[in-house]
Symmetry: C2
Subunit: 238 residues, 2 copies
């Protein structure tokens, strides 16, 4: 089955197949069935906004395929990207649970697919299945920890180079190779990286230059090669 944007439609991406540590993984048969009834699936093009900062919460989105960036902006136009989401992530959960406006904007960075669960149905579902409510609480506290990491980075890390090194390490943490070096596909523009570490595009450009000169990294097309992990860790600081 073929969908627009060159995507294959996934039959059901709420199952554990997407990711093991998934919020709605390993539910009882009843709960899973109920969940299946209240969800609906949609596909999105690159650039699509799942929801926008300030909107009343309509429901949660379970990302099945594609990547999304979560960002927040000031009125003067400055933007920071707070998280890059991947398949399996649940977006908008905080807003739905606390019934406050979405605190971020969720934008698809590439074509993708997501399940949508309306707010009312989800809350009803959580009341019926208390076990799942506790799982939600756990997920929320994980989200909180991520936010707290962000606070530490923004508040305690002084120099852009330190934040940049931190970001590079967070990317390579997932994909360590057998030899010293690590490779990551670089899908972000310098502008976007700047919005993640809270600096300007020009500074990111210069950081790339500096780090290349210092043999810390290397670019092969759009593949980023980390040459000296130790040195990066030293920059991030003792």
């Amino acid at each position: 089955m073929r969908a627009p944007y060159g995507l294959n439609i996934l039959d059901n991406c709420l199952t554990c197949s997407v990711r093991e540590e998934h919020l709605f993984c390993n539910l009882s048969v009843h709960a899973a069935q109920r969940l299946n009834e209240i969800k609906s699936t949609a596909i999105y093009p690159k650039g699509a906004m799942l929801f926008i900062e300030g909107q009343q919460p309509r429901g949660v989105f379970v990302l099945c395929a594609g990547k999304a960036k979560l960002s927040t902006s000031s009125r003067e136009g400055k933007t920071i990207i707070t998280k890059l989401s991947e398949a399996g992530d649940v977006l908008g959960l905080n807003s739905v649970v606390s019934n406050r406006p979405y605190e971020v904007t969720a934008e698809m960075m590439e074509p993708g697919q997501a399940n949508f669960i309306p707010r009312d149905s989800l809350l009803q579902f959580l009341k019926e299945y208390g076990e799942v409510a506790l799982r939600v609480a756990e997920q929320l506290s994980r989200n909180y920890y991520t936010a707290y990491e962000e606070i530490r980075t923004l508040g305690l890390t002084t120099s852009p180079s330190e934040k940049f090194a931190k970001l590079l390490l967070s990317w390579t943490a997932k994909t360590t190779q057998n030899d010293g070096t690590t490779q990551v596909k670089l899908t972000l523009t310098h502008e976007e990286i700047a919005e993640i570490i809270g600096t300007t595009r020009e500074t990111v450009s210069r950081l790339f230059s500096d780090f290349k000169k210092k043999q810390l990294l290397q670019l092969k097309g759009s593949t980023l090669v980390i040459r000296n992990r130790m040195a990066l860790e030293k920059i991030v600081q003792a």
Copy 2:
């Protein structure tokens, strides 16, 4: 009944008397009774640490009297204060629910009293009383929002003066007077204010001077008088 540190011991501060929107307010009789069994009360002097960043979560503290500051530090010694807690607040909830180390240090800023609920007992309690688990989820998502506000402040607000104005407004939001001016008791040192807005003590000193000169505020002993709320809001930005 008299306790050390010049405090009156409160008989039971888990009840709604402390604060209406309290996490453990309006529980069923059974739940309240059970909660009462698993909690224990203690009093603390100024400077006491309820828990320290990085420790394994022992349980949650429900603050009954006194104020506490929550802070986190980098290895180089830089510290940021992320929240000032008051009576009614529940401290350590995130860590307990997700079983991760305390992400902050909680230090009493004045003598106070708190109820302690051990981790195991609380989790058991939450499993027994599913309604309360949902309440906890709501509380966690409120915490998340607070953290997110912090991220916005740290990431989007550029100048110290803007953050300072923001902080002043957050203080006066609670205690608005009938005439134009607002009064707040100033209990923090310049150093502590610096740790809240992420700058240096000297800069805070200069900010006070500037704002006094610009007729924005005034100091009467340890009482801070806000003279021009509008101007502060203009600094915080359109």
